[in-house]
């Protein structure tokens, strides 16, 4: 198997009855950050229930194969069973009044999307590369670190990798799965197995609710109390207290040494990793397996666990956590890099420097414009390489130079072409987060944003649409110094500016009082 990866995405890009796109963008950024730099994404396949966002998917991922459908609103086999009195009688193990139509639809749509995406992958007859199956909304947005992707180039490719959690006994996390093609293909029938599970056509409900859920263990009352969220919270507070006490008790005196020993003992008791039946215990006799209420059976994670066990995949399944490996330095890959036009408040450089600047950028640069001295455009041509052209602004004022360049950009590359303005190429190429920048530029193109400040402002109202973005009312950052936006958007803001852009706090104050500026909330350069 070559060192390449097929990315298979599924689920809701945007949840029904919600306009929240934050999970989608967080998912894109997370994927880029966590993908192994040495395992290239060779192909992307996607299925979603959001046909209205197909253009967005094309912009962000440019998948080789995609299918966007309207959400299924009926699963007649299951709904009939749920709604009929006969059905409720038949479903004596688990069909429950707690399963409302919405939750059934949500679960089945989730698994059906996954299966359809895998079927799409299979239909493309793609190469035999490792497959990463993930949801569009992969990423930590509002969640703890538990769902973060773990991909390590050193891991053997013949196993199915899933995220581990303390709740693994109940079910397996379905937010991402890394598998060889032979295992990935088996998920094309996942939705059928789930449907059979929920209609009682297999042993899922019986095992889950009555005979005993495999690879679980009945807990004592103490263990149950310990796993409660209140206990966990007390546990976390105690650990913090112990750590701070330990730091304060440094020193060589006998009393302090004894105290540190006691603290260490207490800490080691508290700091034990969670133990689960899936991982730590040998599966025990049938009568001590756990069972759950029927209301909990409509659980995508439990359904995934059943699927993996019933398909005989458990022996080839391995669970990973974010803390297992130190691989941050090997992680990171820009997906579908967004071409930009780069404007520099710098004097023109020789061709070698220009080519180096273009080569060092993680995002393709369609053109570099130098705004100081002779205003020059250095355009990337397919055959000729870099072609230079001198521009003639109306005057030597900063505003006219920038206007001239933006007009040229609009003419050459289009009104919506994304533009990045930087003091110099060195500062641009020192970007600390290319994955975020790539996502941000795509967001700018998608939303047709006029202007986003990139200096890293900390004071503002957080955006609900994109991570680390905020709306700033007032501020002290110089405009058009480090910024990004569409060419036409920047041009329209520039129309209101005075001739010398870098000066005039009065104008700055006035302008910012009239309108808000969107700014990145942390420094990425």
């Amino acid at each position: 198997m070559k060192n390449e990866l097929i990315l298979v995405l599924s689920g809701d890009i945007c949840h029904p009855q919600s306009a929240d796109m934050l999970p989608f963008w967080c998912g894109f950024i997370e994927l880029q950050r966590k993908l192994c730099s040495s395992i290239k994404v060779s192909q992307i396949v996607g299925h979603s229930w959001n046909p209205e966002l197909s253009d967005l998917v094309e912009l962000v991922y440019a998948p080789q194969a995609k299918l966007h459908e309207q959400q299924s609103c009926s699963y007649p086999e299951l709904l009939e069973l749920i709604n009929s009195a006969e059905g409720l009688k038949k479903g004596r193990y688990g069909l429950s009044a707690d399963w409302n139509n919405e939750s059934i639809r949500s679960t089945l749509n989730r698994v059906r999307s996954l299966s359809r995406a895998v079927q799409l992958m299979d239909a493309q007859l793609l190469s035999e590369h490792q497959v990463l199956i993930a949801r569009w909304d992969l990423g930590p947005s509002n969640k703890a670190k538990t769902d973060q992707l773990v991909i390590d180039a050193g891991l053997p490719k013949e196993y199915l990798y899933l995220q581990y959690s303390s709740k693994v006994d109940v079910g397996y996390a379905d937010i991402w799965m890394l598998a060889p093609p032979s295992i990935a293909r088996q998920f094309s029938k996942f939705d059928r197995v789930v449907l059979d599970s929920l209609t009682g056509k297999n042993s899922y409900l019986k095992q889950f609710c009555k005979s005993g859920w495999p690879r679980t263990c009945r807990r004592t009352w103490f263990e149950t109390a310990l796993s409660h969220s209140i206990s966990q919270s007390i546990h976390d507070q105690l650990l913090k207290l112990i750590e701070s006490t330990w730091m304060q008790r440094q020193g060589r005196s006998f009393t302090r040494k004894i105290l540190r020993r006691m603290i260490t003992l207490f800490q080691s008791r508290l700091d034990q990793p969670p133990q689960t039946a899936e991982n730590s215990y040998v599966p025990i006799a049938q009568n001590t397996l756990r069972t759950f209420s029927p209301a909990c059976a409509l659980n995508p994670r439990a359904l995934l666990k059943y699927f993996i066990l019933s398909e005989g995949l458990r022996e080839r399944t391995r669970f990973l956590t974010n803390e297992d490996f130190e691989i941050a330095s090997n992680s990171g890959q820009v997906i579908n890099p967004q071409p930009i036009v780069l404007l520099l408040w710098d004097e023109v450089q020789d061709n070698g420097v220009i080519k180096h600047a273009m080569h060092s950028s993680a995002l393709p640069i369609s053109a570099i414009f130098y705004l100081e001295g002779t205003v020059k455009a250095c355009i990337t041509e397919q055959r000729e390489g870099v072609v230079s052209r001198v521009l003639q602004p109306k005057s030597s004022s900063s505003k006219d130079r920038l206007s001239c360049v933006l007009d040229f950009t609009i003419q050459q590359f289009g009104r919506s072409s994304p533009v990045v303005i930087m003091p110099s190429a060195a500062i641009y190429n020192a970007c600390a987060d290319w994955h975020y920048l790539n996502a941000l530029i795509k967001f700018i193109v998608w939303k047709n944003l006029d202007y986003v400040d990139l200096t890293g402002s900390e004071n503002g109202k957080p955006s609900l649409e994109f991570p680390d973005l905020q709306t700033v009312n007032g501020g002290s950052f110089p405009l058009f110094n480090m910024a990004a936006g569409t060419a036409i958007g920047m041009r329209s803001i520039l129309n209101k500016a005075p001739p010398e852009l870098k000066v005039i706090p009065n104008w700055l104050h006035q302008t910012l009082q009239e309108s808000s500026v969107i700014a990145v909330g942390r420094a990425i350069f």
């Binding site: 390590d152 180039a153 050193g154 891991l155 053997p156 196993y159 581990y164 690879r215 263990c217 080691s268 034990q272 990793p273 133990q275 899936e278 991982n279 730590s280 215990y281 040998v282 599966p283 025990i284 006799a285 001590t288 458990r314 022996e315 080839r316 399944t317 391995r318 669970f319 990973l320 956590t321 297992d324 490996f325 130190e326 691989i327 330095s329």
Partner: protein
């Protein structure tokens, strides 16, 4: 009845099994030897865990660099090892494969409770796919099992095989009940010549006589060899012996704490031995 004392059901066949104990697991190995059932035993200690986790490890020139901290050490030259995550990708890849492989006759020793290493134990269990009866202690032949392993298990083992091959440092000289064995030498700090060393040693082991015994004192190379041989020569019995038989290999017997248990002569040695037996890490605990 507590979870720990319940008899367990084997996940594969349904045969009963209990959680590992030092005594019980050494009994099991003795039974395998008596029944002439080929098996593999490899160990994952601190050094192997660091490599698996992709952390820099350095044991050389009296310095140990471990988990971002530096300590002084008195390890001999043959105990040196250097793992740089940027350069040791092939070592790590093979070590991960050996840690994740699972088979009836493939036993893996891992750090456990008495090592204060529950995080590592859980990590190794996850790499194994969860607990199986083949999981045991990395300290199976040492600490509280050391004297029994030396006085009973290893002599029994050596006498049960006609052909014995020993993989060890180039300084080794076989003696005692290992004298009839053949030595396959490896260099100091083989990480720097990993692939060449692995290919060379593996080529010789693949030609081992049928049902031979392989004893390996070769640091992380033992793990990789054990895994590869289990796949290609299931007739062989392979044991990672670490430093437990150092004296029979002509190597120093004062590099590990448990070595002090062997024949203490002076009062001081007896006191040191007694103190060690009182230590919390002495008794193997899962």
């Amino acid at each position: 009845m507590s979870v720990l004392s319940n008899p367990r059901v084997h996940i594969h066949t349904g045969t009963p099994h209990t959680l590992p104990t030092g005594v019980g697991d050494l009994d099991r190995f003795e039974q395998l030897v008596i029944k002439q059932t080929p098996f593999t035993f490899i160990r994952f200690s601190d050094g192997e865990i660091e490599i698996l986790r992709n952390r820099k490890l350095l044991i050389a020139n009296g310095i140990t660099e471990f988990r971002g901290q530096k300590f002084s050490n008195q390890f001999p030259e043959f105990d040196q090892k250097r793992f740089d995550p940027r350069l040791g990708k092939d070592v790590r890849r093979d070590l991960l494969s050996s840690a994740m492989f699972s088979d009836w006759s493939y036993y893996k020793g891992v750090p456990t409770r008495h090592n204060n290493a529950l995080d590592d134990r859980e990590f190794m269990l996850r790499l194994n796919g969860g607990f199986t009866p083949q999981m045991t202690f990395s300290d199976l032949f040492v600490n509280s099992n050391f004297l029994r392993a030396r006085s009973h298990f290893f002599p029994l083992l050596a006498s049960s095989f006609k052909e014995i091959l020993v993989v060890g440092n180039w300084r080794c000289e076989l003696s005692g009940y290992l004298k009839k064995g053949r030595l396959i030498k490896i260099p100091d700090d083989f990480f720097s010549s990993y692939q060449i060393t692995l290919d060379s040693v593996l080529a010789r082991l693949l030609e081992a006589p049928r049902y031979a015994l392989i004893l390996s004192s070769a640091s992380s190379l033992s793990n990789v060899l054990g895994h590869r041989l289990r796949l290609s020569r299931a007739d062989l019995t392979f044991l990672d012996i670490g430093t437990v038989l150092n004296d029979l290999l002509g190597l120093s017997m004062s590099t590990r704490t448990y070595h002090k248990l062997m024949q203490p002569n002076t009062l001081r040695e007896r006191l040191t031995s007694w103190r060690y037996r009182q230590h919390s890490e002495y008794l193997l605990r899962w």
